[in-house]
Symmetry: C2
Subunit: 413 residues, 2 copies
């Protein structure tokens, strides 16, 4: 029996790396005053079909359930957020600053390194139309990556504005119903043969190519970068008018995060979707909103790529997995007393391990070492004294068994 | 648009309760030296069909994926554990003490309060056949519930042994291929009409009824309770030979946890499954194993039921959601400096919030209150001094802005 193609197992070492990523995500989101929420893994396919654009629907992990419902393993969180906010919005003061950490799915042709599931951090601000919210969101995205030890030489956030292009299309008298198609062409620019792009653009080809080359001018984007500069974060961003994002629902500022070396796919991406909540609630609730998502897979690859950052992770994981005390049972007659003490130590909030069955003392010390125990406490001939070994220094001392609790508390602090 | 029937949304308040449960689960499992792992949410249906018994297969959330695979949203973790351990077992020293926190699914007729998803803590010990492992596992299950504040008056673990019944069947010359069916009858005892049970048992009806009435004698179960008594945990368990658990793969000690008042379904359940890893690996890896699972739904209901325990939770959640500092921007001219300072405080590891847009000072203090801020830091006319308000005591003082970092650090410790 094997796992399904594109689905990962997380044995302890991989799970520790995943949890390290989750911990940094959660920590920084909370520094920014974001509160955690979560949606269901399964939603009606309808929720995604209407609003997310052609690309995501093709890759949906959809099926018909036993009750003949068309359902999908969620590919992204934004439509769920819009659904939940539309349903509960009166309960909350605006703006909402919500984050979520969960798993997402897609069904695409299986390729090397292309998974069918990944975990994402999603951070969204709902109910604030001003640029201050866009700045706050981009700053959060930067600080999430800084928390891993990444610097401005490691990654860049490319920022753009869909309104730049919709203004452009309005000026060129392109009908509104062709805008989505146009934005898809911009999104694919550079990934498609130049002739194909030119053909799709028709008479717009020259102004578009010129604009992409010159970079375009945008007062709003300038203000956004100024806001980040005020926080000391301007070196992490660059304006790139060629970014529009694939999803149909974006309306304003959009951004994507890449490694500076250009080796990996996007690390994160997001933007403003001011109309989505209104659309999903059939106009009963209208709230401006914006957000970004960061996946664990590309991020994990970039951590492995940059050894300085990887070392920070490995050190944190080694620290986190440590137990406090390993109880060495040198004489089986001492097992009952040892177990009573183990229970008390665990009750006291310590991580404690011991051998379940009679085991040679040398192997028990080896197990203590491997578990990263700070202390080994030996129950043996010295009873009612205990031999304590400081696993870091190798120092040993004898203490009366009734003093163990105080000794351990003093050692911890 | 609504969520699918049987699937929950977790807006912030519900998510905080879920995370509180996860945190206690993780904390106690780690006190016991268990390490975290995780498997995929989707597995080949085959993994469950063969080994888990009829009851679980009927309720499987199965479907055919776009690649014509028969797949299932996982109903339980044990078959995945057996699969992963069989594949990786050489990498790990035995016994393995692994725990996992994740979501599980079933597709059954929708009833009030019967969900199609829930979260579970799974704790398993692999590679240890002795009773010491069973005692360790039951003790862990007890201590997980104690960590929420539950006492021996709130819940009881009913413990049994499948070997008691297989010995009984051997003695009565019942052929091995009828044992599973017999165990299902014992499992349903009390939930089915007595006549139906009697009919199914045939000539075994009298000895079975007599055994269930007298409770039966089991040396192994006596030793297990003694082991728990040595740890001061005997009052949390009772021997109940009528417990056999529905799943086909159990082989030895089995147990189920109930509220003492008998109001809810089982809070947790588990037992030994010494043959499952061998069966799933076609005999290439043979390892004894045992484990339990505890779900979040019944546990959450019991927390709400017992007000003492519920208060502990609400207090912990209120404490956990607090931010450290709310920055009040009384003059918009001060916003740029305030944002620079906010960036520094967040970098320093503090949870900091502020108004994204110009807001009345009174409303900002209200927001500080609602976010549970310890301090409010006011940027106003006093600049370059800052007015600091201790939100707990209401005390206010002026400090030079360059002293803020030290002030906040002193206030925290």
């Amino acid at each position: 029996m094997q796992s399904l193609p594109g689905f990962r197992d997380f044995p302890p070492e991989e799970c520790a790396r995943r949890n390290y990523i989750f911990a940094r995500w959660r920590e920084v989101a909370r520094h920014y005053g974001f509160v955690e929420w979560e949606g269901p893994l399964l939603e009606a396919t309808e929720l995604y079909k209407k609003k997310s654009g052609a690309e995501i629907v093709d890759q949906l992990f959809t099926f018909t359930d036993k009750g003949e419902r068309e359902v999908a393993l969620r590919p992204e969180l934004t439509p769920t957020l819009a659904r939940v906010v539309a349903a509960h919005e009166r309960e909350f003061k605006k703006p909402l600053k919500w984050f979520s950490i969960g798993q997402f799915f897609r069904y695409e042709k299986q390729q090397r390194g292309r998974l069918r599931e990944h975990f994402q951090l999603n951070c969204d601000i709902t109910g604030e139309a001003g640029l201050a919210a866009d700045i706050e969101l981009v700053a959060l995205c930067i600080d999430v990556l800084r928390a891993f030890g990444f610097g401005e030489k490691d990654f860049v956030i490319r920022i753009s504005d869909r309104e730049f292009w919709t203004d452009f299309l309005r000026e060129k008298d392109v009908p509104v119903d062709r805008w989505d198609e146009f934005l898809q062409v911009i999104d694919k620019f550079g990934r498609e043969p130049r002739e194909k792009t030119a053909e799709k653009l028709g008479k717009l080809v020259d102004p578009v190519f010129a604009t992409l080359k010159s970079g375009g001018k945008s007062e709003k984007l300038g203000k956004l970068v100024d806001g980040l500069r005020g926080r000391g974060l301007a070196d992490f961003v660059s304006i790139d008018i060629g970014i529009v994002r694939g999803l149909a629902y974006y309306t304003g500022i959009v951004f994507e995060v890449f490694d500076r070396a250009g080796k990996f796919r996007a690390i994160a991406g997001g933007g403003r979707y001011d109309n989505l909540i209104g659309q999903l609630s059939d106009g009963t609730v209208s709230l401006p909103a914006l957000g970004f998502a960061m996946g664990d897979v590309v991020l994990g690859e970039l951590i492995q790529e940059i050894s300085r950052v990887c070392q920070i992770m490995e050190k944190a994981i080694a620290q986190d997995r440590k137990i406090d005390i390993y109880v060495v049972i040198a004489k089986e007659e001492r097992r009952a007393d040892a177990l009573k003490q183990i229970q008390q130590l665990r009750d006291g909030g310590y991580r404690v391990d011991y051998p379940l069955t009679p085991t040679k003392v040398a192997r028990q010390f080896q197990a203590a070492e491997e578990a990263g125990a700070s202390l080994a406490v030996l129950h043996g001939d010295e009873w009612p004294q205990l031999k304590i070994k400081n696993m870091a220094t190798g120092e040993q001392e004898l203490i009366p068994q009734e003093n163990l609790k105080d000794y351990v508390a003093a050692h911890r602090s």
